[in-house]
Symmetry: C2
Subunit: 364 residues, 2 copies
């Protein structure tokens, strides 16, 4: 059996472990070590709960456990749903020593984490992520929150978990398409900071697609460590952390244009990364051969290569809503090489214009 | 004219000033120094806004100002109302550099501060408290939040203000009864930590009732400094901070039994402090003479001396819901002397029983 790996996120007195491995939920002593609270509210959704709630309950045996099962989907990531989790905490008479355990993907984690941040001004929060995206992305950074009709993730809090249990076995029940979308974020880490990891992915992408435990543990651990290193230097998102948004400015525009839900986040990010690579090549920063490697890896991961034809004007309009816009200028995360990303607003606008015309079309 | 006093709350990179003085809202340069943001959402209520919004708007001239005027009253301190403030922030397209300014009493501050904590995971928050209670109590400690049908202040966040502007002139429009209720908390600080201040209050209580600016500035500054010293040693409320709850365990029971709103918080706390003093005397900790001084001062402040006859059993039941209960034992803040409070669960239950019988009655 593949060994579990533990990574400690060093945040002083808020430090916490990320335990990664297959079959973790069956390892009582590991769960006990991570979850100290005697009173636990498990937050999950209607898709994940039938699959993984019973094993988690077994792992938590001996504790007082309540449940709050939410509807599945990003459209339910609202302040009203957070109210439902808070109601469940009150109803179960949870006190300050309780823990909120999020069992599910990023949406469940964002909601549960925000409820934990607000209940009695902050109670323990444990993540049990069951999607690849959540395991590589939500485990580090402390962001929690919900959407507002006016924008994604506008309401929330920074609230670090006390532990993350990433059981790679839970990925066995993840739909193929979501696994592939998660791989987009995995590839992103190679692109922004680690050429060696990108090369490793070129060797092992099929192992990941086959959900081979050792490959998954290696990749997830490396992504979490990479994100932790970036976040540690920029906890409140002023500079370097923006690099984590490689592919996201284009990607968010695609998601928004298509209507949330029709494109998965990772799919849109994959296309966005291809566009960022292409833009970098047109600026003379990145060789054509590297653009080819990036396209090829994303394609082998089964990710879409091209954006929808939403038209240049609409794309620009949507990109302008990005949080990285400064003084009206769209700032992009671009690549100086595979493994080296940079945030810049310093490019000729005509290059962006022609890139958009060639990819999303002159008009819709 | 009385000089304004400034107190700096030392919290490292979250340090902030509390400026206290008459006519502060007319002093543009002071307001400018405290509120750096160009985009401001002022949160107030229907009682305070007609009185003080125009002066505040004038003081903020040159900024982009939006308003969110809430209904008045503790019963509106809900998660739904926070949603309204968040809607206002989104609607006004406020970005991360905005500031939320709370103009009003503790309820407005709690709601606005919590909304500021949640909007974009935290934006600046400025307090302009217009009640004595808010000026002495809410200015320090960083607590924000709302009530849940299951309990008071169950939902919230720790979010420090970037500045507090306590214009003692705003107390001129405060109803007499609310001024007196605020004085209960002022007297509390003398009782828990500062015998000299208690003696000063015995000399100057009528000056405070007459809203004499110099006396108000002195008392507010001292209360804030006292709370700051306690909170600094116990930011997350494990030990010493509990002393701030002198009179509150009895007081909350009175408020809850009477139905929130019929007793003002400060009135209930005043009675609670009298009961705590009486209990301390019966345990032999406090002399009868001191109990008399406490009763006399509260009476001169126009505060009620006796609790309603809710009956011993009901009082105990309500007191058991207190957050200080540990292992089923009701812990009380009691007095070892005027100026020296202590938290204890170590007393003969019969003493509490007989105290309750003698004050709230054997049966309702």
């Amino acid at each position: 059996m593949t060994e579990a790996g533990t990574l400690t996120i060093d945040l002083g007195d808020r430090s916490y472990p990320i335990v990664i491995g297959p079959g973790l939920l069956a390892a009582r002593e590991r769960v006990d070590a991570c979850i100290r609270a005697r009173d636990v509210l498990v937050v999950s959704n209607q898709t994940v709960a039938p699959l993984w709630l019973a094993p988690l309950r077994a792992a938590l045996a001996g504790r007082r456990i309540s449940e709050c099962i939410l509807p599945d989907g990003e459209e339910h990531k609202t302040l009203a749903i957070v109210g439902r989790v808070l109601d469940a905490l009150v109803e179960a008479r949870m006190n300050r020593d309780c823990a909120v355990v999020a069992l599910g993907g990023g949406v469940v984690g964002d909601i549960a984490g925000f409820a934990a941040a607000c209940y009695q001004r902050g109670v323990d929060y444990v993540q049990v992520p069951t999607t690849l995206l959540a395991q590589v992305d939500s485990s580090v950074g402390g962001k929690t929150g919900v959407n507002h009709p006016g924008g994604k993730n506008l309401i929330g809090a920074f609230h670090q978990p006390v532990a993350v249990l990433s059981d790679t076995g839970t990925l066995d029940t993840l739909p193929e398409r979501e696994l592939r979308a998660g791989l987009a974020e995995v590839i992103k880490y190679g692109l922004i900071r680690d050429a060696g990891f990108f090369a490793w992915l070129e060797e092992h992408i099929e192992d990941l697609l086959a959900r081979e435990p050792a490959a998954l543990v290696y990749a997830i651990r490396l992504c979490c460590a990479c994100k932790a290193a970036i976040v540690a230097r920029d906890e409140h998102e002023r500079g370097e952390r923006a690099l984590l948004n490689l592919g996201h400015t284009f990607g968010h525009a695609i998601e928004a244009a298509a209507g949330y839900g029709s494109w998965l986040h990772g799919e849109a990010v994959a296309v966005g990364m291809t566009m960022a690579a292409e833009m970098s090549a047109r600026l003379g920063w990145l060789g054509r051969r590297d653009v080819g490697r990036i396209r090829a890896l994303l394609q082998r991961a089964g990710l879409p290569p091209d954006p929808p034809r939403l038209g240049r004007a609409r794309a620009l309009e949507l990109m302008r809503m990005d949080k990285k816009v400064a003084s009206g200028r769209i700032r992009l995360v671009l690549l100086e090489a595979i493994g080296r990303a940079t945030l810049t607003g310093d490019y000729p606008p005509a290059v962006l214009d022609s890139l958009l015309e060639d990819t999303v079309g002159k008009v819709a």
